[in-house]
């Protein structure tokens, strides 16, 4: 039993990690009242940047830093348009995704099909060699542990710090926050940039750890699933974590289903994560109060102090 179960659980954690990064980043952005639908585009740009820099410099850490920076750059473009220039957030987010898809494919052409040494798994003396717990807990690459660290950091920041409280206030009532002297635009820029950095790292994880190579459009809707996860989680970090593992499991089941002698065409199995996203959204949104009570009140609305 364990020799089937352990690989499934391990692959679940590995598949869930990019979703955790992207969704936690977007959660912070949305908590500040900014709806950035460009996650998919930022992920793709992060994926190619992380891959290209990691490959040419030989250092994956450098690749991840570059990917985060690329995500921030994309997010700042979005911020400039929506926060300073007051454009519609939905349309601008779509534009960011379309732009990111095009840009990453354009820049990434020379890198298609090139091999890269994937992120190595950690090896902790004694712990990694434990029979069941070793592979289950102590043999992932560093980004997997980083995603958990990010969860604790985001949770702590939003609920335990003064700045986190300000950020949430800005997401609920920007006018009031402005009147209290909080820098609405600056906090929104920072939250958007943070979301961009997380999406960039999520993308780099795809191209250097999950499948160590660059393929056009390789995020395959994960950015959108991350957006759905934030709604599913009713804007709470812990539920993002649980939701991401649920979805990670969903993508892994399709790989193992064939092995169990289930003869469902592979295309139908591949539909599972997308179907699950829809079903989960329906379950969460069914009661309008769930959304009304949890969604940041100013989500998606631009704010201009003079207007």
């Amino acid at each position: 039993m364990t020799d089937v179960l352990i690989p499934i659980l391990v692959s679940t954690v590995i598949a869930a990690t990019p979703l955790i990064y992207a969704a936690l980043g977007e959660l912070v952005t949305e908590r500040a009242g900014v709806l950035n639908l460009g996650v998919e585009g930022m992920m793709l740009v992060g994926a190619i940047t992380g891959f290209a820099v990691g490959l040419s410099s030989g250092s994956l850490v450098l690749g991840y830093l570059a990917a985060a920076a690329a995500g921030v750059a994309m997010a700042l473009v979005f911020g400039l348009l929506t926060i300073t220039l007051q454009t519609n957030q939905v349309a601008t987010g779509l534009a960011l995704t379309l732009f990111g898809v095009g840009l990453s494919a354009f820049v990434g052409r020379p890198f298609a099909g090139q091999p890269i040494a994937g992120a190595p798994a950690v090896s902790i003396p004694l712990l990694s060699e434990l029979p069941v717990l070793g592979p289950l807990l102590f043999r992932y690459n560093l980004l997997v542990y980083g995603s958990l660290l990010l969860f604790f950091a985001v949770h702590w920041f939003l609920t335990r710090t003064h700045t986190g409280l300000k950020l949430r206030a800005i997401g609920e009532a920007p006018q009031v926050s402005h009147a209290l002297g909080h820098p609405v635009a600056r906090v929104r820029y920072a939250a958007t940039a943070f979301g961009g950095a997380c999406s960039g790292i999520a993308g780099a994880y795809l191209s250097t750890a999950l499948t160590p190579m660059w393929v056009e459009g390789m995020s395959a809707g994960r950015g959108w699933i991350a957006l759905a996860l934030v709604v599913f989680a009713t804007w709470k970090p812990l539920r993002v974590l649980l939701g991401a593992y649920l979805f990670g499991g969903m993508t892994v089941i399709q790989l193992y289903a064939q092995g169990f002698g289930l003869h469902i065409p592979s295309e139908f199995m591949s539909m599972l994560p997308y179907l699950a996203t829809i079903i989960v959204l329906v379950l969460i949104c069914r009661d309008p109060k769930t959304i009304l009570l949890n969604q940041p009140a100013a989500l998606g609305r631009s704010y201009h102090p003079d207007a």
């Binding site: 007051q86 454009t87 534009a95 990111g100 959108w224 065409p265 997308y274 179907l275 329906v282 207007a307």
Partner: protein
């Protein structure tokens, strides 16, 4: 230091000028990109924007690629006007291709004048069916239509892949993942000698005309418009929100479905694993660049079609990646959104004596709601 100041009224001039400004900025950026890539920008521009139009065949290709873009964008514009964010036109297009082709594969073996109309109707019905899913989930379960319609794109593409790899694969097709090729009576008739443009283009123009009539002259179109611009006013006037959502999604699904079957019964001529190079997504940009107005959308879809053609030409002659088209598309929408700033704001170099207070009129709301 220049500062932004809200205009008392949105500028009509800028509303029309912003798309042109955006197109020019996109061209300027293209110039820069070509130069950075070490290509002679003038020669590259000729390949990209002039050469595709130099022959009558090329012009035919322009109209051919305009057709699906125009169809999808006209439908999407109706939805966007009503503040319904259907971004899954690509999926509705794919399902339209599947249902339309299904009719051909089931009944098309004998020549008949009824096959082609039946295929087109089935394509429209397929697109509507796929768009009905987000409409139902939004009206019944309050589920965000953006995410649902997008997830359905992936599901539609996987469904198409399953069909052409499995039950609908041509038994005489050497195991290629594609259906049998369509017979003459299952294909849209060509418009001219020596070009691939078919009657689908005329259909698309008629749909655009009908959409204009719907928006400008029908009560249902008016209700959708009000619901998009001022939801509270629409509710007060007793316009049903659910009805608007259904109408917006079904109409945009119908045009996308027609675009899908038009591709399969047109230039492609059979079902393949991929029936569209992202027309459904590019149509989102077309709708905005065309100011959500059918006439503007006709022009914008011609421009977008030229970007596709130019991308193909640049791929062949300059060994540039095909993705350059996607890059230009994204840039165009960015610049448009940024240029739209000047519809509602103006730059002031000095502080105005009295900052004019914005007046909430229908006009300012209109300008704000149009993204």
């Amino acid at each position: 230091m220049p500062r932004l100041e809200r205009r008392a009224e949105p500028s009509r001039l800028m509303q029309l000028g912003a798309p042109m400004l955006a197109a020019m900025l996109m061209l300027a950026t293209g110039f820069l990109i070509f130069t950075l890539l070490g290509k002679d920008p003038v020669a590259a521009f000729r390949v990209f924007f002039i050469k595709p139009l130099a022959t009558s065949y090329g012009l035919g290709e322009l109209l051919l690629k305009t057709t699906p873009l125009l169809l999808c964008a006209v439908g999407l514009a109706l939805a966007f006007r009503a503040n319904v964010w259907n971004i899954g036109a690509e999926g509705q297009l794919t399902i339209g291709a599947i249902t339309g082709a299904g009719v051909a594969l089931a009944f098309g073996d004998q020549p008949s004048a009824w096959i082609l109309p039946a295929m087109l109707l089935a394509g429209i019905a397929g697109g509507m069916l796929w768009a009905a899913i987000p409409a139902f989930l939004r009206t019944r379960f309050n589920t965000n239509e953006i995410l649902v319609s997008l997830m359905l794109v992936y599901i539609a593409q996987l469904l198409l892949a399953y069909l052409v790899h499995g039950p609908w694969r041509d038994p005489a097709g050497f195991n290629f993942p594609q259906s049998r090729t369509f017979n003459d009576w299952e294909l849209l008739p060509l418009l001219f000698e020596g070009a691939r443009t078919n009657v689908g283009f005329i259909l698309a123009l008629l749909v655009a005309l009908a959409a204009w009539f719907f928006v400008a002259r029908s009560h249902a179109g008016y209700r959708m418009q009000v619901a998009g611009l001022a939801p509270a006013a629409a509710a007060y006037a007793g316009f049903s929100e659910k009805r608007n959502i259904w109408l917006a999604l079904l109409l945009s699904g119908a045009t996308a479905g027609l675009a899908g079957i038009g591709e399969v019964a047109g230039p492609i001529g059979q079902l393949q694993p991929s029936v569209s190079p992202g027309y459904g997504f590019a149509a989102i940009i077309v709708a905005f660049v065309g100011r959500l107005h059918p006439a503007g959308i006709v022009l914008a879809s011609l421009l977008m079609s030229l970007l596709y053609l130019g991308g193909e030409q640049a791929q062949m002659e300059l060994a540039m990646p095909a993705a350059v088209t996607g890059l230009f598309q994204g840039l165009l929408l960015f610049y448009l959104l940024a240029a739209d700033l000047f519809v509602n704001f103006r730059l002031r170099w000095r502080r105005a004596a009295i900052a004019p207070k914005p007046i909430e009129t229908a006009a300012t709301i209109t300008a704000e709601a149009a993204p």
